[in-house]
């Protein structure tokens, strides 16, 4: 049986340039990775909320790819990203959702072999950890518009909104 895991990648566009590279990852392989990529102008734009929302949206794993140490064009963006990732990892451990579902890597642009290695490592880890027990049970997320809009969009449900699924109601003051 072929297993598919859902992976969200938040990446700095300077660390990793071409999303098309994901197409090269063998999706027919077992396990397969359904990848949702979210580009950012700097990895410092990653907020704890985005990582958590990705998991709510059914991500089985979330990974954050940043520029190599010392190479962030904004100085400390990758350091901030690492701190936030570390915090969310420990929060996930606290709620027993396994902080290892969230990973963090430094990447230099064009380093495709590392990308492949990272994806293989994540697949392997997912086989051990299993599916995210807290994610929404949908086969595929609808892909409309850019990946950023995708992550922030509420997943479509066939029936009326089910309050038990805990849809957030934002009311900004």
């Amino acid at each position: 049986m072929s297993r598919t895991f859902r992976l969200f990648i938040f990446y700095c566009t300077r660390a990793f340039e071409n999303e098309a590279e994901f197409a090269e990852f063998p999706t027919a392989a077992d396990p397969a990775l359904e990848i949702h990529a979210v580009p950012m102008a700097c990895s410092s734009m990653v907020k704890d909320l985005f990582l958590l929302k990705a998991l709510e949206a059914g991500a089985d794993a979330v990974t954050v790819w940043v520029c190599p140490e010392g190479a962030c064009r904004h100085g400390e963006g990758n350091l901030r990203a690492r701190k936030r990732v570390q915090r969310v990892q420990s929060l996930l451990d606290e709620i027993e959702l396994d902080g290892r579902r969230l990973t963090f890597f430094h990447l230099a642009p064009g380093d495709r072999s590392s990308v492949m290695e990272i994806l293989r490592e994540i697949s392997g880890a997912l086989v051990r950890m299993g599916k995210n027990p807290a994610g929404i049970r949908k086969d595929r997320l609808e892909k409309t518009g850019s990946p950023q809009q995708n992550i922030l969009k509420k997943p479509k449900t066939a029936s009326k909104p089910n309050l038990d699924k805990g849809e957030p109601i934002h009311d900004r003051r």
Binding site: E56, E94, I95, E96, P133, A134, G166, P168
Partner: protein, 222 residues
């Protein structure tokens, strides 16, 4: 500002466990500045609570709402409809805000999501330090602008004790010895000899020792 820290998630989960419809209520003033209970923190906490409850197969509906401050009734009132839609409120305000909300909505269970700690300042990015304990009788002029009640672990008026080491307190090597700072400050001001003056015991009546305090401004009451 008032500084606080969000409670450990395990404690929040345990506290909110009996409820299935929860309003997470944030505050946009002090707790937002110390990253404990502002709008962003409300969103992240709500997300975490949903993940935790889904993982356990528990039904939990969360509503998110943030008001300007929870220490003034006019602002709390704006949350009335949101409160009415839920069973319980997890307030991320300081202890004063939690109590004000509970007072306003006595038929709803209001739970504290933040541990309120102290009156303090932002020392540098990410670091908040306690400065004032609200003693009700400020004597900072005597101590070169460094408070020995709040910043000396022994509340010494005629300090220092013999326990400081390299200018740090015996209780915590990261904490400056307040009396060291007082001596430095008064030396810089050319007033070190003022410390020769005996300081008598503090009158604790204006502080919490006199019971919970009230401030009444007659000139503002019609």
């Amino acid at each position: 500002m008032i500084v606080g820290e969000q409670k450990p998630i395990k404690e929040i989960l345990k506290m909110t466990a009996p409820h299935h419809k929860l309003l997470v209520l944030g505050c946009g003033t002090c707790v937002e500045t110390c990253f404990a209970g502002g709008e962003d923190e409300v969103a992240a906490l709500a997300s975490l609570l949903r993940l935790a409850s889904r993982k356990d197969g528990r039904s939990l509906h969360i509503e998110e709402f943030t008001v300007e401050r929870q220490c003034e009734d006019a602002f709390i009132a704006e949350a009335a409809e949101a409160v009415a839609r839920n069973e319980a409120v997890l307030s991320l305000a300081c202890g004063a805000g939690v109590q004000a909300v509970a007072r306003r909505f006595p038929r709803f269970r209001v739970l504290p999501g933040v541990n309120t700690t102290f009156i303090g300042v932002l020392e540098h990015r990410g670091v908040f330090t306690e400065e004032c304990s609200g003693c009700g009788d400020c004597q900072l002029a005597m101590f070169g602008g460094v408070c020995p009640f709040s910043r000396c672990a022994k509340k010494l008026l005629n300090g220092p004790c013999g326990g400081s080491r390299n200018g740090k307190c015996e209780v915590n090597a990261d904490t400056d010895c307040a009396w060291h700072l007082i001596i430095e400050r008064l030396t810089a001001l050319g007033r070190l000899n003022e410390l020769r003056t005996y300081v008598p015991p503090k009158n604790w009546q204006p502080s919490l020792s006199g019971g919970p305090r009230r401030l009444i401004r007659e000139d503002h009451i019609l």
